[in-house]
């Protein structure tokens, strides 16, 4: 084996040898070649948002096609679908921040209050399983539960007389936002709770004992010990989800939900910026216009995450970066 106990001698020549490091440079540079091709070339390609770009121009078109300034942006902002698409993108995201964001916190606190260790462990293990399955499977399960024909939940509710007619959850535009929030909670509850559970585990147990001696009930202990103890974690996740407000909060699930659970019938409430980009870009072939729409979302997101971070720093003292 290469492992030997010889003490390092001649540190100077050894240092020189380490500096050469031919293989390490091969490793690092192959990574950089990868990034140049798959990350930086597309990043540079954003310029087509400001050009009149034809699909057939290929990569060269990034450099050679004529500049058109902000006309693609202007076109999107003045298009008749702009208001609707922005309302959907923001509406779904704000609802998720209001409802899907606090749920993992509540779940983590509830789990901490459960006194049956085996049930507690099983529940936690079960809770984050949905995180590992794809949105395709989730949409298939949603179909199995909510379809108006064979949906199990609809079937059950009709049978026990809770409703007369099956609910058209999957096709009614008015239920899409609710569907998006509920499926987001279902898929992400346990996963995002992990962070808060870890934070709760880090709270000094003597704080609870002291509070109890001071006469604090369980609710008071949750309010005055548990919640302050996980404030840092809450701020971090809140900043992350505000930063991705246009993408659907911390899980970033807006696109996959809109693509898989959206359909012609609920389109009025399910079309968001990202699905619109795909439609006008890849289906209608308007690459330059779609790139401009995508860029607008990216810029807004960047502004959001920076301001969320700054507000968090000012309000609570903890922040992401």
């Amino acid at each position: 084996m290469y492992v030997s106990t010889v003490a390092p001698v001649g540190t100077l020549s050894q240092k020189r040898r380490l500096l050469k490091q031919p293989w390490l440079h091969v490793f690092a540079i192959s990574g950089m070649v990868f990034l140049a091709l798959f990350a930086y070339m597309p990043m540079f390609g954003i310029v087509i948002a400001f050009r009149r770009y034809d699909f057939l121009d290929g990569i060269q078109g990034f450099f050679t096609s004529p500049w058109v300034g902000l006309s693609h942006f202007r076109e999107f902002i003045t298009s008749f679908r702009f208001g609707n698409i922005m309302a959907n993108t923001l509406g779904i995201s704000i609802l998720k921040t209001l409802f899907a964001f606090p749920m993992p916190i509540i779940f983590a606190i509830a789990l901490n209050e459960i006194r049956l260790p085996r049930f507690k462990k099983t529940l936690q293990t079960v809770s984050y399983f949905p995180h590992f399955i794809s949105w395709v499977v989730v949409s298939g399960i949603a179909y199995a539960l909510f379809s108006t024909e064979f949906g199990a939940l609809n079937d059950l509710m009709v049978r026990i007389g809770l409703i007369d007619e099956p609910l058209d959850v999957l096709t009614n535009p008015r239920s899409f936002w609710t569907l998006a929030v509920v499926t987001d909670i279902w898929k992400g509850l346990g996963w995002w709770a992990i962070i808060f559970i870890a934070a709760i585990a880090g709270i000094d147990p003597t704080l609870y004992e002291a509070a109890e001696i001071d006469g604090a009930g369980r609710l008071a202990r949750i309010r005055h010990v548990t919640l302050p103890g996980i404030r840092g974690a809450i701020v971090v996740v809140l900043v992350l989800s505000l930063g991705n407000l246009l993408g659907g909060g911390v899980s970033g699930s807006n696109f996959e939900q809109a693509y898989l659970l959206g359909n012609e019938l609920n389109n009025a409430r399910s079309e968001i910026i990202q699905t619109y980009v795909l439609k006008v870009g890849l289906r209608d072939g308007r690459f330059d216009f779609a790139a401009a729409v995508g860029l607008m979302q990216a810029v807004v997101s960047l502004v959001l995450i920076l301001s969320a971070n700054r507000i968090a720093k000012r309000v609570s003292g903890s922040s992401l970066f």
Binding site: Q14, S30, L111, V126, F132, E149
Partner: protein, 298 residues
């Protein structure tokens, strides 16, 4: 710890709320999977009559036989397995190589390399320029579009750098003195003692590959290259559309057998989810660390 005798009214109310909430989460998480499993083992036409909630009413393996005897589905399973294996091997290789190089504090240009990786984690060109690039590279409509553009994961590079840093430098130094080069040290010394982090990273790549579907939608047209999740999406879409267009029972299309679109759909969901269940104990062990590293340390 308090005993049951000393519970106050507040305790009672709180406990009732907490345990009901816990029960709802438990059932709401597990039952949908269980229901899918039940329907996959129930005769297709029988399932469309409804009322199958807890146990298959007329038990059958027919749905599974229908899926596995259909060339389109078996090919999709094969593509999914292939992309998972190849994508994981390629991803772990490049990601660990880059991470190993960057774990050396004396590597020249280290700071620039790190910067390039971190910037690529936070910014991207968006889907349209990405598509143009893949097209120029000749990757569109090939198997490689599944496994090549995913080879380097910036977050996993950072995870691996943290691990490699903890390996005692003396191990490497003495190998250098014995005349080994960095490639030999990496392959014969570093990788064998890095099994825990290799397992974590492999699981990340493996699950992502197994679940991936969007790349097939956007970058592939050939029906021969469709993975399982893509086919599943197609079935879900077609059943929803046919259900709303004609308003008639989808099962009428399949007259020869008891198999319906719904039962095929549920069966393929089971086939997709089972591998995840099998690696779940490992996922739990390795991913919980991962999310804490990724989210809390940002």
């Amino acid at each position: 710890m308090r005993t049951l005798k000393h519970r106050s009214a507040e305790d009672w109310i709180l406990d009732t709320l907490i345990y009901s909430f816990a029960a709802v989460v438990f059932i709401a998480t597990l039952y949908p999977f269980y229901y899918v499993l039940v329907v996959s083992f129930n005769e297709g036409i029988d399932s469309t009559r409804g009322g199958v909630f807890l146990w298959p009413r007329s038990f059958t393996f027919e749905n599974y036989m229908a899926v596995f005897s259909d060339d389109a589905w078996t090919r999709a399973v094969l593509i999914s397995v292939l992309r998972t294996v190849v994508g994981t091997v390629l991803g772990v290789s490049l990601t660990s190589m880059v991470a190993y190089a960057l774990s050396h504090d004396n590597l020249r240009g280290r700071k620039i390399y790190f910067l390039a990786i971190i910037v690529s984690m936070y910014f991207n060109g968006g889907i349209i320029p990405y598509y143009v690039t893949l097209r120029a590279l000749g990757l569109l409509n090939t198997f490689w579009v599944y496994v090549v553009p995913t080879m380097l994961n910036g977050f996993l590079v950072l995870v691996m750098v943290a691990f490699f840093r903890d390996i005692p430098k003396s191990l490497e130094e003495s190998a250098h003195i014995d005349g080994a080069n960095d490639l030999q040290i990496f392959v014969r010394i570093v990788l064998p003692i890095s099994k825990p982090v290799l397992a974590t990273v492999s699981l990340f790549f493996g699950v992502a590959q197994w679940n991936a579907w969007l790349d097939s939608v956007l970058f592939v047209r050939s029906p021969d290259l469709r993975p399982l999740s893509f086919l599943m999406m197609e079935v879900i879409n077609s059943s929803r559309i046919s259900a709303m267009m004609s308003g008639m029972d989808v099962s009428m299309a399949a007259t020869a057998t008891q198999v319906t679109t719904l039962s095929i759909q549920m069966t393929t969901i089971v086939i997709t989810v089972v591998p995840i269940v099998l690696v779940y104990p490992f996922l739990q062990k390795h991913f919980v660390k991962g999310v804490l590293l990724g989210s809390v340390k940002g």
